[in-house]
């Protein structure tokens, strides 16, 4: 951080170190803070996964206890979703790029932006403090289903699950502050001439994402508050009468409904899936158009699809709950909405594929990652189909098939898109370019290992092996024939961390590279490249607010001198 900032001209000598780098209100610094924090948490979550994978592949070694396994599992999910991918996709990329892409000097509420990060970080820390408690961190899964989560732990306050809930309240508050800021920024601070249909697709996805965060998170906040009440004040929101745990009748509880929690949780958590995937699609759109040197095919239909996706994501939550004993009418409703929501995803994916046709494709590292997103997300999306119909879900629900499905969406899907974004925008943020050779090794290694990790899971899922098993299924007869797949997954995971070393070395090493890049090294059209220097000016972004004259992806326009026509370029200049 310090290294690249030192290239700036120091106009703001009056700002001290703390104001400038720690409690900064500059959206770029906050974006970098989010980025670094979330990359660290992605690594932490990944290490948790390695330990679990080791345990599952060789359960007879009893590397960790069942408690520790459940802790790692719950925290892996929570970290990856709430402290890793979302802060990176929205907090880092969104914060850094959205204002520059719309030609704004900063976010609409810079201090709110700072507050959002400084609520996020304590939330993460509070949650991780769970590991210091007597019983360890939360171990009821990232879903924290009641009654298990309410009963978990014996010390009620100083306990991993309580810490998880408190941390969750912090994280939710943080993303509420952030999403208000994003929406206002995108609506209010667009540069002159930048109409909605001239917004880069990335900005659109950020806008839809912000709405999802704004409207879907509060119900989880409610669920978190109610669960805290159940744990600390012995209320019975989610706790039915007549519970017997370890031969002890829990007569302090009566009259609650455990399914209520699931409804509140999934009302958030399904939109959350689109929070994870939409910004990734936005990043892919930027990189694919830039490296095919042609406009995005069906830009408008993609925008409408993204909006529709966001809207529908509020109406599908109970497809996570087919096995809770729901009636025909409710199940029919949610199956129908689930089938409907698959259509806009197909539209977006198809538009990406067709965008490639007729292009002049450059294969640089960001493009490789962006391209690999398409088939990987394709696998993730398609394997969602049998889970979306309640009948086929009977066999596959809560098996490894589900794990394979959503990991294909999020890991080689979203995370690859995020890597693409890092390689693509690194020169924008630092003024340096990441090494291509290391980047390509990182890419090819990662894609092979990713598939080695997740492809076997479909086999295990079809065999009916349940998720979250400490011994990887060794107890179960129906798992015996597929147990060896656990080992492939584990080797894949170890391979994966090996290839991430190339990324880590590249990420830090490139900071010290002597070569400064051009302001617009990718020859891109969007405002962050064509109207602002790399790295952008501190606190201002632009020397003066740019004026926008055209759509975001005007590449290879017939009759123009260059194969890219920046958004700031007037028609007369062409």
């Amino acid at each position: 951080m310090v290294t690249h900032e030192s290239h700036h001209d120091h106009h703001h000598h009056d700002e001290g170190f703390w104001r400038k780098y720690i409690f900064s209100v500059d959206h770029k610094v906050i974006g970098i803070q989010y980025g670094i924090t979330s990359l660290i948490f992605l690594l932490v979550g990944f290490c948790f996964m390695l330990v679990m994978r080791y345990q599952m592949a060789w359960p007879e070694k009893a590397f960790i206890t069942t408690d520790q396994y459940n802790m790692l599992g719950a925290m892996h999910g929570t970290i990856m979703v709430f402290m890793g991918v979302v802060p990176l996709a929205v907090g880092a990329f969104g914060n850094y790029m959205v204002p520059i892409q719309i030609g704004a000097p900063d976010m609409a509420f810079p201090r709110l932006n700072m507050a959002s990060y400084w609520v996020f970080l304590p939330g993460c820390i509070v949650m991780m403090l769970g590991f210091l408690t007597d019983g360890g961190a939360a171990q009821s899964g990232w879903t924290s289903y009641t009654p298990l989560s309410v009963l978990a732990g014996s010390g009620k306050f100083w306990d991993g699950q309580t810490m998880w809930l408190l941390g969750m309240v912090f994280l939710i508050t943080s993303s509420l502050l952030g999403s208000v800021n994003f929406i206002v920024t995108i609506f209010q601070l667009r540069a002159p001439g930048l109409t909605f249909m001239r917004l880069p697709f990335f900005v659109w996805t950020q806008l839809v994402t912000a709405f999802l965060l704004l409207l879907a998170f509060p119900p989880l906040e409610a669920a978190g508050i109610l669960q805290l009440m159940d744990r600390l004040a012995e209320t019975s929101f989610f706790m039915p009468s007549g519970l017997v745990v370890s031969d002890v009748v829990q007569d302090q509880f009566s009259g609650g409904n455990p399914l209520l929690y699931q409804h509140l949780f999934w009302f958030l958590a399904h939109p959350e899936v689109y929070v994870l995937i939409l910004p990734a699609m936005g990043i892919v759109a930027e990189i694919v158009t830039n490296n095919t040197r042609k406009p995005l095919w069906g830009y408008k239909s993609m925008v409408y699809a993204a909006i529709f996706l966001g809207f529908m994501s509020f109406l599908v939550w109970a497809h996570h709950m087919y096995m809770t004993g729901m009636g025909t009418a409710i199940s029919a409703f949610f199956q129908t909405t689930t089938m409907i929501i698959s259509i806009p995803s197909v539209v977006i994916l198809t538009a990406f594929f067709i965008s490639l046709w007729g292009g002049s494709i450059r294969y640089n590292t960001p493009m490789l990652f962006a391209l690999s997103f398409l088939p990987m997300f394709g696998i993730g999306g398609l394997t969602g189909l049998p889970l979306g119909l309640s009948t086929s879900d009977i066999h596959l629900h809560d098996t490894y098939y589900v794990i394979g499905h959503f990991h294909y969406v999020v890991a080689p899907g979203t995370v690859f898109a995020l890597f693409a974004g890092i390689y693509y925008w690194y020169p924008k943020v630092t003024g340096k370019r990441m090494n291509e050779t290391l980047g390509k090794i990182h890419f090819w290694g990662s894609i092979v290992c990713m598939n080695l990790v997740f492809m076997p899971m479909f086999g295990m899922g079809l065999a009916g092996v349940s998720r979250r098993l400490w011994d990887g299924g060794a107890v179960y007869a129906h798992a015996q024939e597929v147990l060896h797949l656990n080992e492939y997954s584990t080797w894949g995971a170890f391979g994966l961390i090996f290839f991430q070393l190339f990324f880590i070395v590249n990420f830090f090493g490139s900071l010290f590279s002597k070569e400064k890049t051009d302001d617009n090294l990718w020859q891109a059209t969007t405002l962050e490249w064509c109207a602002a220097p790399s790295p952008p000016l501190p606190h201002l972004n632009f020397a003066r607010i740019p004026e926008v004259h055209r759509g975001p992806y005007e590449y290879s326009v017939p009759g123009h001198k260059t194969d890219f026509s920046p958004q700031t370029m007037k028609e007369t200049e062409a």
Binding site: C47, F48, L50, V51, A62, F63, I64, T65, T66, D67, Q68, F131, L132, T133, D134, G135, G136, G153, S154, G155, K156, F157, W158, S246, D247, V248, W470
Partner: protein
């Protein structure tokens, strides 16, 4: 507030585990051993004037036996847990009532309930009490320890167990113990509670925490002996998991070996 802080018991080995992944996991069983006090047991410190008041040379012994119709005992259903089943080829009988010849009762905690000097303080023994999980049962089935004495929970089985203590006055905990693992705990409140292995629901054990050293747990012969008692009048209590509690009063004088028998029956 006191309740709250008592529950704050940081397990430092846990975060360490995550910092040193792969380095010391194999040996990571549980907590640091509690600091052990090195004062000699009460018996050897009889010259001490304070100790003279709180310990003595009297003793109480006797037998606890069962009267009435002996209830049948169930064979434990271990489901399909092969590793546990194969250790009990003849089947495992419920340990709810273990009787010796002449219907003497094992697993009864006998302790002085009241009558000791009110300000008496007794240092806990330095040797830990062991609670092993072997053959998918807890051994011993009933354990009595003194306040402050270390209880060592062990797992000598090849399968993973978990120790779920359902204490109310002392902090309860629920932790898995891998094969060969062990962890130490101390208790600072007098109470009798049970311990379960949730993974194997039939596994149940009782721990009696007593604030002084004057207690005993009967073996199969139903016999108990409480030694080194100072002169005084005492209420002696017997406790059994299913048969409940019963008390008797007795007065002992210097050097006396008093006899006291108890009978318990189905209520």
């Amino acid at each position: 507030m006191h309740q709250l802080f008592r529950k704050i018991n940081i397990d430092w080995s846990n975060p360490l585990m995550f910092l040193l992944v792969g380095l010391h996991l194999a040996g990571c069983g549980g907590d640091q051993p509690a600091p052990q006090r090195s004062t000699p047991p009460p018996a050897t410190s009889s010259e001490n004037t304070i100790a003279q008041k709180t310990t003595g040379t009297a003793s109480i012994s006797g037998t606890v036996s069962f009267i009435g119709e002996v209830p049948k005992l169930r064979t434990v259903d271990m489901g399909s847990v092969a590793e546990c089943k194969e250790q009990h080829s003849a089947g495992l009988k419920s340990e709810a009532l273990v009787l010796g010849d002449g219907n003497t009762i094992a697993n009864v905690i006998v302790k002085i309930k009241s009558g000791l000097p009110s300000n008496a303080k007794y240092d806990p023994p330095t040797n830990p009490a062991e609670l092993d999980q072997i053959g998918c049962i807890y051994t011993p089935h009933v354990l009595a320890v003194q306040v402050g004495q270390t209880v060592k929970f062990k797992n000598s089985d090849s399968v993973i167990h978990n120790v779920h203590t359902l204490s109310e006055k002392n902090p309860a905990f629920n932790k898995a113990v891998n094969k060969g693992g062990e962890m130490d705990r101390t208790y600072d409140q007098e109470e009798t509670f049970f311990v379960k292995c949730d993974i194997h629901p039939w596994m149940k054990n009782y721990i009696g925490v007593v604030s002084h050293p004057f207690f005993s747990v009967t073996k199969l012969d139903g016999k108990f002996e409480i030694k080194n008692l100072p002169v005084g009048k005492y209420t002696v209590e017997v406790w059994h998991e299913r048969l409940g509690e019963k008390t008797q009063e007795i007065e002992v004088s210097h050097g006396q070996s008093a006899e006291l028998d108890f009978t318990l029956s189905k209520s």
